[in-house]
């Protein structure tokens, strides 16, 4: 059990249906950045949701363990699980335009849970929110805290959500494609900001993305997911030099940053897709699913 977050053989099924996650195993070490890559629909978001206890009702966890700070979340009663998650982990969501409550001012959206759940004094929580907004380079935090979400730009809102995620000093942050919904010009800044904040606060970060190029910039370790199955867990350097799984190698070849720009991109070859499909099916047979 090496990780601050340690997922062991996590299996998730559609209720009364097929598998969504197949015996997923991965570790996020304390203070490290772990990338989770895979194409759209591979199940990346569902891993994050399983950890945070927000899986859609149509899905259910059918096996495995999720250890967070030495506690197996799946062995806890719902209320205790919620408490453990709220106290140790936080989410930076994908779409800043829908992740803030449109009916509430920014300030309370950051401070309320500090007061309600963690028992902070209101003035302390507000001071903390101001500091954090400052830290994510939001001009005039006091004014922003009095604003409603619709009065702010997407980039501003994502900064606010980042600040909010760090508010209770969580030791793990899950960022689910935190820049995909943003303008290309803003994406780099936000990525940089998350990386800086992570370094400064020493938080472990599970960074979910479909973009291997982004992973190469910010991550220490990574997992490659295909059709709900982890095909490779690796340290960054080793992965980029010597990917073990053919799907990983193909994914690398399809990523602009590590290909010769003159040669163009190589799409994942059909032979590799077929091989990994067989492997995934083989796993299901073995697991008796």
């Amino acid at each position: 059990m090496s990780g601050f977050l340690s997922i062991r053989n996590l299996t998730v099924h559609l209720r009364g249906g097929g598998p969504i996650l197949r015996a997923v195993t991965m570790d996020v070490a304390p203070g490290q950045v772990h990338g989770l890559v895979g194409e759209s629909g591979a199940g990346k978001s569902m891993i994050g949701k399983a950890v945070l206890g927000t899986l859609p009702r149509a899905l259910e966890i059918t096996g495995g363990e999720i250890w967070l700070d030495g506690v197996d979340l799946l062995a806890l009663a719902p209320a205790a699980r919620r408490k453990q998650i709220g106290a140790t982990a936080a989410l930076i969501p994908q779409d800043p335009l829908t992740a803030l409550n449109p009916g509430k001012r920014i300030g309370p959206q950051i401070t309320r849970r500090l007061v309600d759940i963690l028992g902070w004094r209101k003035s302390d929580a507000e001071a903390r929110a101001r500091d954090l907004l400052d830290e994510v380079h939001i001009p005039d935090p006091v004014r922003v805290m009095r604003s409603y979400p619709h009065e702010l730009s997407g980039g501003m809102r994502q900064r606010i959500l980042i600040a909010s995620a760090f508010a209770a000093e969580p030791r793990l942050i899950i960022a689910d494609e935190p820049t995909t919904a943003l303008d290309v010009t803003v994406q780099k800044q936000i990525l940089r900001l998350i990386s800086d904040m992570q370094t400064r606060h020493g938080t472990a970060l599970l960074f979910v993305t479909h973009d291997l190029g982004v992973v190469s910039k910010v991550c220490d370790t990574l997992s490659v997911l295909y059709a709900g199955k982890v095909v490779e867990n690796a340290r960054m350097r080793r992965f980029f030099m010597r990917p073990i799984h053919p799907y990983s190698a193909a994914l690398l070849a399809a990523t602009p940053i590590y290909t010769d720009p003159d040669r163009g991109l190589t799409p994942v070859p059909q032979t590799v897709i077929d091989a990994v499909e067989r492997e995934v099916e083989h796993h299901d047979v073995r697991a008796g699913a």
Partner: protein
């Protein structure tokens, strides 16, 4: 400035609407058969007697002339004289208005409480039998109109298990002199809880009969709206912060889910006020609606006009309040 302009436009449309209603009512009740004067006089009155009274009330003039005379009075606050009750219409109608207002607001309160509770239960226990039960109950409640609910309630709580009064607004034996006609409100302010209990005992069944269909509509709309809101990202984010299901529903989802429900509830509330006409009759509740039926039976044209105008004004006011609430509750419109 935009606000001022809006208020002005609102005021003008209200006046135009009321004028339109006045014209239609004025013409319709004079075209349908039935002579108010003939109904006032004892049998065997001479044609001369009838003609004299016709002239006294102005019924010998053309409809257009009558309307102009009536409108001239209205502008000065004079809605004419009731033929059957022989008192100024304005005084009669305003005297009855508080009874109907109290009944309607009580019904609205009940509808919001019952419908809101059902919606919340259906959301808390979504995809279970409880949600199914909420759907079936709401569907049943909606398929029966308010006056039939009135009869059902009379059977239940008036006959089989007589716990509520089935007629009237207040027990005559009660020892209290009211200074206003807002009995319930006044009794509450004066802390006369014996009187409050008696008033509610009278109001309970008619109010509930009016409330049931609206409660069902609220249950359906609000539950649907809540269900959609529960999937939104900010609700999910609140869950990851350690909040429980109750907090998530009540504090995160509900305030936003109420908005789309509000406008429709406003419209439905005006239907509820319309429903008081029959319900007040059924429970002999002395309000505007009951008076309206008597006025129609007696062909009391000035009184009918007065009541209809007042109802129309009430509907417009309800819509105005709903629009204002919508702005107050929706931060996106508040600064516009």
């Amino acid at each position: 400035m935009a606000l001022l302009r809006n208020i002005l436009i609102r005021l003008i449309t209200t006046l135009v609407t009321l004028f339109g209603v006045a014209v239609i009512v004025f013409v319709v009740i004079r075209v349908v058969p039935g002579n108010p004067i003939a109904m006032m006089l004892p049998p065997g009155a001479t044609d001369a007697d009838i003609a004299r009274l016709q002239a006294q009330y102005g019924f010998d003039k053309s409809i257009f002339e009558q309307f102009v005379i009536w409108l001239g009075g209205v502008v000065q606050g004079d809605f004419g004289q009731s033929i059957s009750l022989r008192q100024p219409v304005a005084q009669l109608v305003l005297g009855r208005l508080p009874a109907t207002l109290e009944l309607s607001l009580m019904a609205l309160l009940m509808a919001v409480l019952i419908g809101g509770t059902m919606a919340l239960l259906g959301t808390l226990f979504r995809n279970t039998r409880t949600e199914g039960a909420v759907d079936v109950t709401a569907g049943m409640a909606l398929s029966i109109p308010d006056f039939l609910w009135g009869l059902v309630l009379i059977l239940l709580f008036g006959v089989l298990w007589p716990v509520f009064h089935i007629s009237g607004r207040i027990s005559p034996s009660l020892n209290i002199d009211f200074t206003t006609n807002f009995y319930l409100f006044e009794a509450l302010v004066r802390l006369r809880f014996d009187v409050v209990a008696d008033l509610i005992g009278h109001m309970f069944m008619p109010a509930l009969a009016l409330a049931i269909p609206l409660a069902a509509i609220i249950a359906q709309l609000l539950k649907q709206s809540l269900k959609e809101t529960m999937h939104l990202d900010y609700v999910t984010l609140a869950r990851t912060k350690g909040y429980g299901e109750n907090h998530v529903i009540l504090r995160e989802a509900l305030p936003n889910a109420v908005l789309p429900t509000l406008t429709l509830v406003g419209v439905q509330f005006t239907f509820l006020i319309g429903g008081t006409v029959i319900i007040e009759r059924l429970f002999s509740y002395e309000g505007l609606g009951n008076m309206a039926i008597d006025a129609v039976i007696n062909r009391d044209l000035p009184l009918i006009q007065g009541i209809v105008i007042l109802f129309a004004l009430l509907f417009t006011l309800v819509n105005l309040v709903v629009d204002m609430l919508y702005v107050v509750l929706n931060p996106r419109l508040r600064h516009a």
